[in-house]
């Protein structure tokens, strides 16, 4: 693979990995809370069913995108990716500057555990446990699906590295969850969100620009320049917000 291909291959895999890591750490917290109160079988089955739906979505949408004209895809997905990436970056900057609080996985675990205890006892099939873990895994996973599809839409060859990155993070989070049986409160979620926000904003800006006919200097290498530019901008924004 050429060095030019790696300028997109590496960041796309990293984006899939980090985004998936952030979202599945949040989903794991709920699965652990539900499983520890209501029992593991239906909680795990709910999460697995949601993962199956997500895989189906990626496979279906990924193949559908190849039928749409590339110019339309780049403008549309580029714009949506910029909006998605800047939203994550905006929130991560405010959290890094201390303007809004960081997410607390231990507190989320305690809240979810209390909520599950309020539900009545069950016999046999536990619909509450299944529904809770299915919904949270699917809702968190939708963001991962969007990111993977958006990356694959910008360059179809990047669908695989982005998917592999996302899958690697899912397996890692699941393995850690099985090993420690506690919320992964020490994972630097905001730093990961910060990085994903920068990467997606850079990808989106590049694809949107390509879609409207901008000729980027150095072609694909401009993506690395945009990543660096968004990084400097974001660090500056943290300082501005923290004053």
């Amino acid at each position: 693979m050429s060095s030019l291909a790696w300028t997109q291959f590496g960041p796309s895999m990293l984006t899939g990995f980090l985004a998936s890591g952030v979202e599945f750490v949040e989903a794991l917290t709920v699965v652990l809370a539900v499983g520890s109160v209501r029992g593991w079988r239906d909680a795990v089955v709910g999460a697995l069913c949601a993962i199956a739906v997500m895989l189906l979505l990626v496979a279906t949408l990924g193949s559908t995108l190849t039928t749409i004209p590339v110019g339309v895809i780049r403008v549309t997905i580029g714009a949506l990716t910029v909006m998605f990436g800047l939203r994550w970056l905006h929130k991560a900057i405010l959290r890094a500057a201390g303007v809004i609080p960081l997410r607390d996985e231990d507190a989320a675990f305690a809240r979810q555990t209390a909520r599950m205890r309020n539900h009545g006892p069950f016999a046999g099939w536990d619909r509450t446990a299944f529904s809770a873990t299915f919904q949270v895994t699917l809702l968190e996973g939708v963001e991962v699906v969007f990111i993977v599809i958006a990356i694959g839409a910008g360059r179809p060859t990047l669908l695989m590295p982005a998917s592999l990155g996302a899958l690697a993070a899912l397996l890692l989070v699941a393995a850690l969850g099985v090993a420690v049986h506690r919320p992964l409160a020490r994972v630097p979620e905001n730093s990961m969100k910060f990085a994903v926000g920068i990467l997606l904003s850079a990808f989106g800006c590049f694809w949107f620009g390509e879609g409207i006919g901008i000729e980027w200097p150095g072609d694909d290498l401009s993506i690395l320049g945009l990543i660096g530019a968004f990084l400097i901008l974001s660090l500056t924004a943290v300082r501005v917000a923290g004053r």
Binding site: A79, M83, L86, L89, V99, F208, G209, E215, P217, V240
Partner: protein, 72 residues
């Protein structure tokens, strides 16, 4: 029937929430993209100026929104 409606509602909110936390910020970004999409292709700018203008607009919107929220 209340549980399925609630789940659908949550899903729709999540869909919108993929792109919008702060409506003012999201609409400003969308507006800038629309403006850039309409205007930048009309000017043939060499040397990456069009890309720089696109990035600069997004950067200004981000920093301004962060600064505004930090003051509130």
């Amino acid at each position: 029937m209340s549980a399925p409606i609630s789940a659908t509602d949550r899903f729709l909110r999540k869909m919108v929430g993929l792109f919008v936390d702060d409506w003012r910020f999201a609409l400003t970004v969308a507006g800038w993209l629309l403006l850039a999409g309409l205007l930048l292709p009309r000017f043939s700018m060499a040397g990456g100026w069009a890309g720089l203008i696109l990035f600069a607009g997004l950067g200004l919107i981000l920093v301004d929104s962060v600064r505004r929220q930090a003051r509130h």
